[in-house]
């Protein structure tokens, strides 16, 4: 194919057998801190990188059936909202902030957390739940989102992400 030989063809690194792995530890359960791990994980998957996510402590809410659809974005203790600290705890403010954030994400075509998890799972992400967090909250696999690959302890996660790049969120 001489036509192809003269073309400028982008390199998609197909020939490179990469074992690049990104390990993301999601430790926060607020709506605003749920997104960074999902967005970065999704971006990495789209670049052909192996991705493991480990949900621990408050991050456990992101994969808990009864909680994952009700994550809250609270201005309390969150200076990034630029709301004066004394006003932040006012009744209704967290609800309003959560609603605003959901709306802003929706306008940017960024899906809600449960749908986002579906997306990264379909893209090949490995999803792990923290054993200690499960025990602390008296939760079993039945209480967790069905895309969870398993409940594992911290050592298991460290072992399985040997050599990976790691993000703690």
């Amino acid at each position: 194919m001489t036509a192809v030989e003269s073309m400028i063809v982008p390199s998609f690194d197909d020939e490179v057998e990469t074992d690049r792995t990104l390990a993301i530890i999601c430790s926060k359960g607020s709506l605003d801190m749920a997104y960074p791990g999902l967005i970065l994980g999704n971006a990495a998957l789209g670049e052909g990188v192996n991705v493991h996510l480990f949900f621990t402590f408050w991050g456990f809410d992101m994969i808990t059936k009864g909680r994952m659809e009700h994550l809250v974005f609270s201005p309390v203790g969150n200076p990034a909202t630029h709301i004066p600290a004394a006003l932040a705890p006012l009744p209704g403010l967290a609800k309003m902030a959560t609603h605003q954030m959901q709306k802003a994400m929706d306008e940017l075509e960024i899906p809600p957390v449960p749908e986002f998890l579906d997306l990264i799972k379909a893209s090949g992400a490995h999803i792990w739940a923290c054993r200690l967090s499960a025990d602390m909250n008296h939760l079993s696999e039945d209480d967790l989102w069905e895309g969870v690959d398993g409940i594992i302890n911290a050592s298991d996660f460290i072992e399985m992400t040997d050599g990976a790049q790691l993000l703690f969120i």
């Binding site: 036509a3 400028i8 379909a122």
Partner: protein
Amino acid sequence: MPTTTINGRDVTVDDEGFMTVYDEWDEEIGKSLAAAIGVDMTDEHWKVIRFLREDFKAQGATPTIRRVSTAGGVDTKKLFTLFPKKPAKKMAYIAGLPKPAGCV
């Protein structure tokens, strides 16, 4: 902007080789672009590529993986099978469109 020759025709591309002029593309060119990156086009591939072309025309932006699945009706898993490893970029390349700008 550099030009490159595909099927004996001059087309405008960016530095990486992504086509930059919407109307310079046709399915014959799409086929050659696919061959150049090792994608063997089937009806399922064409369904995706045609959606990308139409959606770009309507929206003015290359659809992301999520959009191809929600609006185009081809699920994400399938996209990773059809266009291995880097589906968003590969689809855009074959469809003669810029890389998607959206994060998700």
